[in-house]
């Protein structure tokens, strides 16, 4: 069993419910213990730093301080939390004077941050610690014949915290392959989906999503998988808007990687939160079970 301090991120309670439900379901069978931090707050994400770059460091540092007290690697499934917490962590360590000021502020809540936390992404944990080969050994239902566009998105690999190639990552593909599925060629695998501008400037980012759908579809993908809550929400919930704007007919389910792993581990729809997916994954899953039963 491997132990981690778990930082779920705000979207795990709402827009990315399918992510947190499925992650909880697969953690035990994969010998991971993800102990949720008590009293975590939002990491600050891009918006906080955009309105007040200095103050956002303190918001991130409060969470880092809570994790430091526990002493294990801090693991988040959210790509934005991963970047925000890492960025603040690096910045504070490089600027000791600022770290001292942050600590003076944290002291009012009886907290302190020394700078020892290692912030990791769940995909890094699945790939590096749990390892594709041991996941493969636990697969009960091989996803044979399933063609998947493994969509890393931006912030799993950029700016660069050393986990995978910054433009042509392959580790998410390997996780897809260890389940028996095919990771199709997908050159735009780390290009942006439009991030939170899907809310504020919707019309201007639908084109970015359309390119991703087109690129995945022309390479034969039947579905996407991504670790990122925002990528999943954009590609899943905005797919109908993309179709309306561009006159396309995409119908590509978007699995969280933890959902896809769960399917291969033989778990049911409900325990993987697949009922939360907007583009229904049922047709694709039905096809899988037909292949299995030879009908």
């Amino acid at each position: 069993m491997k132990y981690y301090t778990y930082f779920p991120g705000c979207s795990s309670e709402s827009t990315a419910l399918g992510m947190s439900i499925s992650l909880e379901a697969i953690a035990g069978p994969l010998d991971m213990k993800l102990a949720e931090m008590e009293d975590w707050t939002c990491c600050g994400s891009t918006p906080y730093g955009s309105l007040d770059e200095m103050e956002s460091l303190v918001i991130a540092a409060r969470n880092l301080a809570l994790a430091e007290k526990i002493g294990l690697d801090m693991v988040t499934p959210c790509s934005s939390c991963y970047v925000t917490l890492n960025k603040a962590n690096h910045h504070l360590k490089e600027h000791p004077q600022l770290m001292a000021q942050v600590n003076e502020a944290l002291a009012v809540a009886k907290m302190q941050y020394k700078g020892s936390v290692k912030v990791r992404h769940i995909v890094d944990v699945l790939y590096t610690d749990i390892k594709p080969e041991s996941i493969a050994a636990k697969v009960k239902q091989k996803l044979a014949g399933l063609k998947v566009a493994a969509y890393s998105g931006c912030q799993l690999v950029r700016p660069d915290y050393g986990f995978d190639h910054v433009e042509f990552p392959d580790k998410l593909d390997e996780l897809v392959r260890c389940l028996g599925a095919e990771a199709v060629n997908f050159p735009l695998k780390s290009r942006c989906c439009g991030s939170s501008l899907s809310i504020s400037e919707t019309d201007k980012v639908l084109g970015l999503m359309e390119k991703l759908f087109a690129n995945a579809a022309e390479n034969g993908a039947q579905c996407f998988t991504t670790p990122c809550p925002l990528c999943q929400t954009n590609l899943d919930a905005y797919q109908s808007l993309v179709n309306a704007k561009f006159g396309t007919h995409y119908n590509l389910p978007v699995f969280f990687i933890s959902q896809l792993i769960g399917v291969a581990l033989g778990m049911d729809e409900k325990s993987l939160g697949l009922d939360k997916n907007i583009v229904s994954p049922r047709p694709v899953l039905r096809q899988l079970s037909e292949v299995k039963s030879g009908t």
Partner: protein, 180 residues
Amino acid sequence: MNTFIDEVKATPGGENVLACIQCGMCSGSCPMANQMEYAPRQLIAMIRADLKDEVLSSNSMWYCLSCYLCTARCPKGVKPTDLAHALESLATQQGYRTRGNNNPEMYRAFVGSIKSNGRVHEFGMMMKYYLSTNPFAALKVAAVGLQMFIHSRLPLKATKVKNRGDIPAIIKKFKEVRSK
């Protein structure tokens, strides 16, 4: 007196602005460059020409998606993504208003949600944002919101962190310490 360049350099993310060699890799990589008043390379040139008002009232940085493609490709380590956030932050702190981009309002609703709940309540944040900008814009994406709601992905109730009172106290103290 501090020049604009000094202000930018003193803001986290703005440190490396002088390393730019104006190669244009950032503008060529940016998926939103065509929406911006000034593409990233040009914006950096304008910072160095001390065109503070033009830079801070532009919509350019507010179109940044934080995809970090420019940062990954910049041959000089300028980190244009972080620079964009530094400029957004300076513009906000100094009361600059931008033209024709709704992102600042959405960010305000987002941060407001953190300050009152400790976490972002996505439904509340979106309602606040649409009411503060253009409620009719909400109609265009109503179908998306409805689907999210039906699939239990937009709970109406906010999760409130137990010690959320820590946040304003920590922020207040941090402001005091910084102004010393």
